[in-house]
Amino acid sequence: MPRLSVRHAALAAVIVMVSVGEASAHCFVGGRFLPATLIVDDPCVADELSLPTVAAFKNGDFPSARELDISGEYSKRITDNFGISVAETWTHLAPPGGPNASGFQNLETTFKYQFLTDATHELVLSAAVSVEWGNTGARGVGAESFSTITPTFFFGMGMGDLPDAARWLRPIALTGQIGYAVPSSASKMIFGVDPDTGETTVDVEHHPRFLVYGGSLQYSMPYLKSSVVDLGLPEFINHLIPLVEAQFQTAIANDFDVVTHTTGTVNPGVIWVGNYFQVGVEALIPINRASGSAVGVIGQLHFYLDDIFPRSIGRPLFASNSNPGRPMFGN
């Protein structure tokens, strides 16, 4: 029988108290790490902070305005598998000929439950409800007066199961999401005055329901080095995850006022993954004129709070001893 030192015994006591099952954190599943992607949310619940995310692009307005978005998002695990996140974005708009406008977008909150973590097959599934709270932002930058509720399904899957003949493809991972955005009000009346007759006019602005969907295709150099073949590449290269993200929204109901039904961007880029944080940068390529008039750029600094503060704010508020959704370990 192995003899345990006092240090090991103390550590074992700590492990029992905190329960190893929930002591892990950001998006690990088996030997796979899924980074926090910039456009599409990753499928895990985690203690993490994206601060800042900066995007600069020409938006889909007619005429197109130069837009700068600076945002932050804080995610907190309440239990091992349930977490909430709060996000806020500050926007600066510079339309041609002015005037410029600045202000905050509506506050967004997300409640996510990670209901499956299959380490053997590197598979993660989760479901969430996001709420954009109406009237919490500035109208001048497009914040709506109504709220929008978006139930969303997320998945993440690594290709580590591929046979030896395809081992170079094992570092590939896919993540995705699909949601249905429902405004809290179907329409609103807009009153005006006809300049010719002086009579009161009434227009109806419809608020469409959108299918919101997207995903990412990733090639993990860390996975290549640690699980497939160590090529002796420079350490900086071994921390990179090249990826392509894409996100779209399609108006599918109450869409009487919609001219272009599907908008979105395709976003090739790369994420550098460290022990405590990651840095990502991607191009924002609009799929049509209604999505933007030029290629933009987005960058993000993202902190793993579970690794920076593993014994305090980086842990779930309520950790449990059982963890059925995480058969191998707590992520």
């Binding site: 192995p2 345990l4 090991h8 550590l11 074992a12 700590v14 492990i15 905190v18 190893v20 002591a23 892990s24 954190a25 690990f28 088996g30 030997g31 790490f33 902070l49 601060l51 800042p52 600076i70 932050g72 500050w90 380490a119 580590g160 081992r167 860390p222 080095k225 640690s226 699980s227 497939v228 073949v229 160590d230 022990n275 405590y276 944080f277 600094l301 902190f303 793993y304 579970d306 690794d307 920076i308 503060f309 593993p310 014994r311 191998m328 370990f329 707590g330």
Partner: protein
């Protein structure tokens, strides 16, 4: 003013990292991940990105038929784990490691290497 607060939070987070411990990921191995070695190694060594606890970590090495060819509990200290190996004939060997880092994060991974092929 809000941006100054955001900048302060960012700086504070970066400053906090000095004392932090992260998930332990596999940094390198001997025999190397995915490599072919000419002669059978006597031991397998794993270097991790963080300090790990050998008493609460496992390293299993199996041959192509799934039989264990390691000599049991890994030993080591700091960032390194080592496990002895039985006499390995020519073939492919699969390694599965599962480690506890000193801040109680658990990570795991797998890789293979070949002997004499």
């Amino acid at each position: 003013m809000r941006f100054h607060a955001l900048a302060a939070v960012t700086v504070a987070l970066v400053a906090s990292m000095g004392d932090a411990q992260a998930h332990a990921s596999l940094d390198r191995a001997d025999p190397r991940v995915g490599s072919t070695v000419a002669s059978a190694p006597r031991a397998l060594s794993l270097w991790f990105s963080q300090k790990v606890e050998p008493a609460f970590s496992t390293v299993e090495v199996r041959d192509a038929a799934g039989a264990r060819v390691d000599q049991g509990k890994p030993h080591g200290g700091g960032n390194v784990l080592q496990v002895g190996l039985r006499s390995l004939p020519v073939g492919t060997y699969n390694v599965h490691w599962r480690v506890l880092s000193v801040d109680t994060h658990i990570t795991e991974g797998s890789f293979s290497f070949q002997v004499g092929q």
